[in-house]
Symmetry: C2
């Protein structure tokens, strides 16, 4: 695969800024400051990579849509993602003190507040997705589709199911198929929903949606393979979280099951397949291509 001549940063930075501004707006437009809103804001604005919102916007643009059409959905996806991080970090779950280089929500606030802040972000996502603008009435059934897709991806048949499997698998040697299945649920489902909802609201036809689903499935898995690699080789300072934790928790990972060299090769293959799925798309899908590259080149 030949490297793309596209400056991803000059795409990502303004998109991230746009998402951050919209998130701030959604949080502050609503109510007086309160401890729960502080906790929600703390975790939501803690400097995430905004992969899901950017994927949603880039998928919309790849089929001729505009960032403005999907910005609410992009924000809702980041809220769902952040809620899942807050809950996964809780003492009863992964018991992590550090996230994105900062104390996790239950450390910065307290456990009860963290549980409720997660609940509130998940709920706010659906509030945002169902808020009716003048332009939205005509497309109400499309928005129902988006809500359905995100709720399916986030729920017990998606992300939550994956987290259950992940917890159950600590100390157990998984097969490679089990591991892929678990990641397809835990991280893959919401990445798929990000691309799907962006494409749908951007006006994709069914053939384009099929290709973009193929793209999403492969980069989702690649993302997880690289996460496992970074957990072994990454720099905790750069990542903003501890390394080596998978080994300590005796988790099955791609490096532990396939070896490090093969894991890197596997990630490359997945990205290659993702790029092939975009073969019939024009230059407007370059950001999606660049994101696929970024996934294997990132160091955090």
């Amino acid at each position: 695969m030949t490297k793309l001549n596209f400056d991803l940063d000059s795409y990502l930075v303004p998109k991230r800024n746009q998402v951050d501004a919209a998130l701030q707006e959604l949080l502050k437009s609503t109510q007086n400051p309160s401890r729960i809103r502080d906790a929600m804001t703390y975790s939501l604005m803690a400097g995430g990579k905004r992969i899901r919102p950017v994927l949603c916007i880039a998928a919309a643009e790849a089929v001729g849509g505009h960032a403005e059409d999907v910005i609410k959905t992009a924000c809702a996806l980041e809220m769902v993602h952040t809620y899942s991080l807050i809950h996964d970090d809780l003492p009863a779950m992964d018991n992590d003190d550090l996230r994105r280089g900062k104390p996790t929500c239950h450390i910065a606030f307290d456990e009860a507040t963290a549980i409720l802040a997660g609940d509130a972000l998940l709920t706010l996502a659906f509030q945002v997705l169902s808020s009716i603008d003048s332009d939205l009435q005509d497309h109400a059934s499309k928005w129902l589709c988006v809500i359905h897709s995100i709720s399916l991806a986030a729920g017990y048949q998606g992300m939550i199911g994956g987290q259950m499997e992940d917890m159950a698998s600590e100390g157990i040697l998984l097969t490679l198929d089990n591991l892929k299945e678990m990641h397809a649920l835990k991280t893959g489902a919401l990445i798929n929903a990000s691309v799907y909802s962006g494409a749908m609201l951007g006006g994709a036809n069914s053939k384009q949606i099929k290709c973009l689903e193929q793209y999403a499935k492969n980069i989702g898995l690649a993302f997880q393979v690289v996460d496992d690699i970074l957990n072994v080789e990454g720099d905790p300072e750069v990542m903003g979280k501890a390394a080596g934790t998978d080994k300590i928790r005796r988790k099955s990972t791609y490096p532990s099951l396939m070896g490090m060299k093969q894991s890197k090769e596997f990630a490359k293959q997945l990205v290659n397949t993702a790029l092939q799925a975009l073969d019939n798309f024009d230059k407007r899908s370059d950001p999606l291509r660049a994101i696929a590259w970024y996934i294997i080149e990132r160091n955090r």
Copy 2:
């Protein structure tokens, strides 16, 4: 106020059965058995009073709608309610071992599973509300309205905000206004949304919706006043949960702030106001009237 000649049980029992059957169907139609689904089912089917689903159905029927039109919404409301109970019972929150006469979810399963089962029920509620039937496409914007109303009621400006205030108020002497405000958020908001969404989907006009909101607001508050009374005078065996816990936690309650006699009088006044709001409704609103009576006469 004259007592209504209406046999509530002959209304409630078949409605509850209808809701229970629909809930079972929604849970089992989706996936193979799993620990997370077991935990969701355990709490959802633990014999709740189904107040919110029944209110939703009764509100729809009061304006000429049918239970079938709102059964999904009724189920979603019960999922949201049950999720909030599971999370409120967690050790980091109210730390309750008993709920509806059974071990709470984190006791019967474990803390991580309880957190995720709550998350999954909340998410499933929105999945159910956005699932598109053939008949639904035409009314998509109505369903968006329902989703919006329930997410607002459940979120940090509603139920979650109320739980935050409730936790912050332990050991602090609240004013009566603070107490009302806290309950309006914690329990009132979702009861309002139950009545509102039933009325909306049942085809209510704006004047009817206004009256039903008045009804809901008053029975919601009455419900909480009676809860506080039962916490002092109720029989733990009948209630399926411990009594006297408010005093142990030094919580401000209606009996503690107004006295027991005045609290009972206040509950009656609220129910009376709720009944007056239904003055222009015909016999089809008798179930709503009977539910208002039931709220002050219940012993669990």
